[in-house]
Symmetry: C2
Subunit: 765 residues, 2 copies
């Protein structure tokens, strides 16, 4: 066949993917740099899907100052990195992605040349310490590969990982004064009492092992590690920074600062000396374990044999390819693929694996446990992730989601409070945010048939948690049907969250044939009505005596009884019963008007000043996309007579709230929830109320997509007449038949099939 | 037969023991109160032989003051108790016996009535805190049983133990305000940084578990525990005493002070509330583990089922009876039996078992290990105990001694410095004192045929330790034959100690047929000659250039190159070669005169002011019995022409240095070494140089004795014509034949047999 120009053009377009040809590498569209500027709080470094290690550069961390005073800037460094910064402090091995509070930043490594400096220096005077200036021009961030030039030391740093091992490759200049610094005092959200203990042992001139204990967001957390150097160091040193009344005992017999085999204390730094020739590469392997140094060594031995850096990079990137290929999309532009696959990436890096290869992990009860029959996970930011992230896993990573639930059930077994996790990391509950949304994650999986765990035991755990009277007003909620304003600063949002969680429990109970539990919790799920004030048309704090709080401002987020939000957004938080909500709000017309106002009103400046976690970019009108309680809101029109408004809003939010740039996220990614919202909404449907087996239809932004399911099935989404203005849906067909209503079922997807959207630039009235 | 008065008298005498009758209970002679006043540093509380728990009252502990300044009084409380004190602070579960430095004092429990007070108060104002006044009149201290009335609370406290569990029985008055306080901030040798972390979990209203980490003499030490209450508490509370910049996070959602299931932090106290009726008894079981809370619970379940306090007391006391019966003595007075059996008691409470019932322990390398084929021990105060304590074990507890050596070899395997222990406790080396005397313990066992461990591996460990060039001048010692004064403040005593240790290695090498090692170390064993200055007739610090230090005072213990001693005593420290020593000192006459002077000279007052660890009572003339380097000295006359002086001195030392009173020990008991000296010397022989299989003859103070050996053999000692003045030996027969010379062999004892002494009140010239 004659090669025609248009064929070449076709091949060159972003739609070069064809069922007949080799699938394109999707990793090219993953840009971990997205969200690293300002509010996204993502990190640009390396990790594999759900990996235990997140090896990434710190541009600063900011601690509490020397007087122990909180520095509000610490918040910017939840992920340790801000795109606008000009220096890199070092590379540490654990990071949260997209959180609004933080911890971790363990085991900071920094390669340097020249005179040894053990303090990190400051951003404005990098040469005063070991940090280095750098430029984004000399920085590269891919899935499981990060590279940057450290200008002040003339060192090129490359990072990759396996599941439990961080691998560094440093290209040095010629120098007699090359060092690798191990700063065990460094951490994210550091403060004077954070470092509890550090132990280091130099086993030989290329092996270092140790552990540290911290008291941070995770209250009692130990992390064990092993470091292997590709080249023996010529010498090493330790420094203990705790002064004053410390019992040093007879350790004074030794010169522990130079070439001594061990050190222990609260504030420790170490360094390793080398002579390097021009272009010489020194590599490090840093293996982690939650249990022991021996386990860290075993993890390293099993996962990271040898020193072939590229091999480890490729292996991790292949893991990413495999995950990304679970949803293959066609889009008109590269931008949408970058948003989508970076979103997939951000959605598939948490929760994180938290166990050694032998299955051992440190449990919530401070004991070592061995996970039998599941992989243990942690980093459950459940207030965020029950909404779309875990529902996404039920489609693309169902087995992992079952393991995550088993991890939550183990947490429950180990919990002194006998509760499922609220916000947990590294064998510690930190109680952040509100609600008991683990029940929604579990219910959603059970209802969708993705549950090989003991579902009755799981139901007991959900019920016990939801009946924990002492926790955050649950007792009053059970007795009165709402949380009184006097009891809690977030009485309204918590009442609404509990009502939704209770509905999820009821769905699960129904699925399991537990009529008694169903009745108890379906009744509780109606409690949202108790905090609605029809006089003002908003959810509103209610006192113990039954009256609504007098002074009330539906715009402000401060002290109105809502967590991280205002009445305008939260009033809509009834995903379990949109018809009921519309009813109490006065019917379709009033709700449509309310929603329209939400998306178009102008906010006063004071609103932005007082509200954390979002920027102007995270808000459309008064609709706060940057924070999770509103994530279902744009779909709410589906239950009115104007569903076309959902389609319009969704397409607008996709365009406005997400971009393939460092500041492309309008709010914290929240361990993948923001990204999962993008994934679903781009495909055209959204898990409006996890715990239901249905998805609300939105408006697909793709040309077409294939979800590659386990067992070889596929769910194809075809979009006819797609276009930037063609946001409205004329018709939908599911497996060749017209779709009634605006939802599809989970089984529709998981059985395989085809969903065809017919788009239009106009809509019904 | 007519019962005659004299028969009754005979029966009533202390010699009522007869081979034909029931053996008398020996535990009646054990008075743990001996040594609790002033320097002995023993504790009056409960423990079983070599038990992991030492449950004993604290009368004070004294910390560094609030400004972190060292308080010299802290030294008095190495065992937590001083007889002269009038108040009891509480009862804690771990204590050293007789040390000169300290740690432990973990898990302090105090029962109280009345208003809850969480601070301990002060000795002069006991009512200001939870401590209580008490009187010795209402105090009873036996082996494995302690009882005292707490006057301020009107509570009677009784303590007993099993190997791993401390058992408390408190008899309360009627009160609505009865409490049991758990003070996790308390400890012995406390100071501001000592408490690293504490975790507590209230599992239910009668079970509490937890762990603590401390940084003290043991640098990185974790202790896990489980507490079971015989009666449920009606409520409990926690208090966290760390103020200032601490991240408390969202734990603020809970009222953690009252009835909350868990707490963690650096400085924690807890309390448990009860209502009690008159005479009501509440019991506690406190199980320890070096590994985990689960292991502590398992230890408790296996060792301490039920609540029969007397049963546990009896079982432990029966263990004591069994140990004490290994040597059965007849003496004229009860006093000597009290000294002897209290000495046996103090000798058989260390080293301490350090492993859970499942064999697990925390090793020197911070990893959990499982002891296979041995029981793991700790508390190796080797500078003291190699001299007579471990030699005593080779006779009465040979299997345990083998296990202790296996524990030391495991320590060596785990040691980052590749050394045998120097002074180790709880999986930590603390490097206290000098020498590498573990080699003497191992050599002594090997030479005496008590070694089922890998003896060649053990020899390698000894050799590696003795060749550790960087440690305390060993390198210089190896190169020059002595440690130069410039290198070490204890250059002379260390040189002497190394020379002796090296000789012990040589004996072991010879026994194992390792001629190369033998030659190397027998040569080193002569190094003592290098620090003898014939001009002054003393061992003396020598500089690197070979000259002796100019300014030198043989009387003072300060800065003369000796550890805890002076030249007068240390010059005699050549137990491996007494003939060689006599030779360089100028012959028998001069040495006899030297020894006589040592025992009779008057010391200036300044000597007492400057010297720790001993009192005037610990010194005879200038002979410092209160400290170990002199323990072989009185036997030295045996190598001169006047061995009768040894016999005289020994009997005098026995009488002067030991008494059945609270201040009956003239110096620190040093984890049993002082007591072991008494045991041997009372029986009439002493392990003059461990590593030799011989014992030097002294002068027996008993009427007769039987050593009951393993396998049913006995070694009988019969003393004819015994008497206070009859200290001199006319003749000795071993198994019916006259004994040549003044020593017996280890095999003479262990094969069974009879040694007969014929005493006299006069001696040869």
């Amino acid at each position: 066949m004659k090669k025609l120009p248009f064929l070449l053009l076709a091949l060159a377009s972003a739609n070069a993917f064809a069922q007949t040809g080799k699938p394109e590498k999707l990793i090219q569209y993953v840009k971990p740099i997205i969200g690293t500027q300002r509010m996204g709080h993502t990190y640009p470094g390396s990790t594999v899907p759900f990996g235990m290690v997140q090896l990434s550069p710190e541009t600063d961390t900011i601690s509490y100052d020397q007087n122990g005073k909180y520095n509000p800037d610490v918040y910017k460094y939840c992920a340790g990195y801000q795109y606008d910064d000009k220096t890199i402090v070092g590379f540490s091995h654990t990071h949260f992605s997209g959180t609004g509070h933080s911890d971790l930043g363990d085991i900071l490594i920094m390669p340097t040349t020249g005179k040894l400096q053990l303090n990190p220096g400051t951003a404005d005077k990098p040469l005063s310490g070991y940090r280095s200036a750098f430029s984004h021009k000399n920085e590269l961030s891919e899935a499981n590969y990060y590279k940057v030039k450290l200008d002040d030391h003339n060192i090129t740093a490359e990072l990759t990982t396996t599941t439990r091992v961080g691998i560094h490759q440093y290209t040095f200049p010629a120098s007699d004064q090359s060092h690798i610094i191990l700063d065990m005092m460094a951490g994210i959200y550091n403060y004077p009492e954070k470092n509890v203990w550090t132990y280091l042992r130099v086993v030989n001139d290329s092996t270092v092992i140790g552990w540290r204990q911290t008291n941070g967001w995770a209250r009692t957390r130990q992390l064990y590690f092993a470091i292997s150097f590709s080249k023996p160091f010529s010498g090493h040193g330790f420094k203990n920074y705790v002064s004053g009344s410390v019992y040093r005992g007879f350790w004074g017999k030794f010169n522990q600062t130079k070439n001594f085999p061990e050190i222990a204390g609260r504030q420790i730094k170490a360094w390793f000396d080398f002579k390097t020739t021009e272009g010489e590469k020194i590599k490090l392997k840093v293996a982690l374990s939650p249990v022991s140094m021996d386990n860290a060594l075993a993890n390293m031995k099993a996962e990271a044999q040898g020193w072939d850096f590229d091999k480890f990079k490729q292996a991790g990137q292949q893991q990413w390819e495999d995950e990304l290929h679970k949803i293959v999309i066609d889009t008109k532009s590269k931008t949408e693929k970058e948003n989508f696959y970076t979103g997939m990436y951000h959605a598939l890096i948490n929760p994180t694996l938290y166990a050694d290869l032998n299955g051992e992990y440190k449990g919530l009860d401070q004991n070592v446990h061995k996970a039998e029959g599941f992989n243990n996970y942690t980093t459950f930011s459940l207030w965020d992730t029950y909404r779309a992230l875990h529902p996404l896993f039920n489609i693309v990573d169902p087995d992992r989601n079952k393991d995550m639930i088993k991890s939550m059930l183990a947490h429950y077994d180990q919990s002194p409070e006998h509760m499922l996790p609220v916000w947990s990391n590294s064998g510690n509950e930190n109680w952040c945010m509100s609600g008991y949304h683990a029940v929604a994650v579990i219910a959603d999986a059970v209802v969708k048939g993705n549950a090989d765990f003991d579902t009755n035991k799981a139901l007991e755990a959900c019920v016990a948690t939801a009946r924990h009277r002492d926790y955050e007003g649950i007792g009053e909620y059970m007795d009165k049907g709402y949380i009184p304003d006097e009891r809690s600063g977030v009485s309204v949002s918590s009442t609404l969250e509990y009502a939704y969680d209770d509905w999820a429990i009821a769905q699960m109970a129904k699925k399991l044939g537990r009529e008694d539990i169903y009745q108890e919790f379906i009744k509780r799920s109606q409690n949202y009505k108790n905090v609605y004030d029809p006089k003002v048309g908003f959810m509103r704090p209610k006192l113990a005596d039954g009256t609504f709080r007098k002074n009330f401002d539906p715009l402000t987020t401060i002290n109105q009884g809502f967590i991280e939000g205002n009445a305008w957004n939260y009033t809509l938080f009834v995903p379990q019963d949109p018809k009921g909500l519309i009813n109490i709000m006065g019917g379709n017309q009033r709700v449509v008007r309310y929603l329209d106002s939400l998306f178009t009103m102008q906010l006063p400046d004071k609103f932005f000043a007082e509200t954390e976690d979002i920027t102007r970019d995270g808000i459309i009108g008064n609709y706060v996309h940057g924070n999770e309680p509103s994530h279902h809101v744009a779909y709410l029109y589906n239950w009115t007579d104007k569903p076309w408004k959902t389609q319009e809003r969704i397409r607008m939010i996709l365009k406005k709230m997400y971009g393939p740039t460092p500041d492309g996220l309008g709010g914290n990614d929240d361990t993948g929830q923001m990204s999962a919202w993008y994934i679903f909404s781009t495909l055209g449907f959204y898990p409006f109320a996890p715990g239901a087996d249905t998805y609300a239809i939105g408006s697909p932004a793709i040309d077409n997509a294939v979800i590659n399911l386990a067992g070889g099935k596929t769910f194809k989404i075809t979009v006819k007449n797609q276009g930037d203005k063609n946001v409205y849906i004329k018709k939908i067909e599911l497996n060749g038949k017209p779709l009634e209503g605006l939802s599809i079922k989970h089984s529709d997807i998981m059985n395989g099939g085809e969903l065809v959207f017919y788009m239009s630039s106009s809509h019904a009235k």
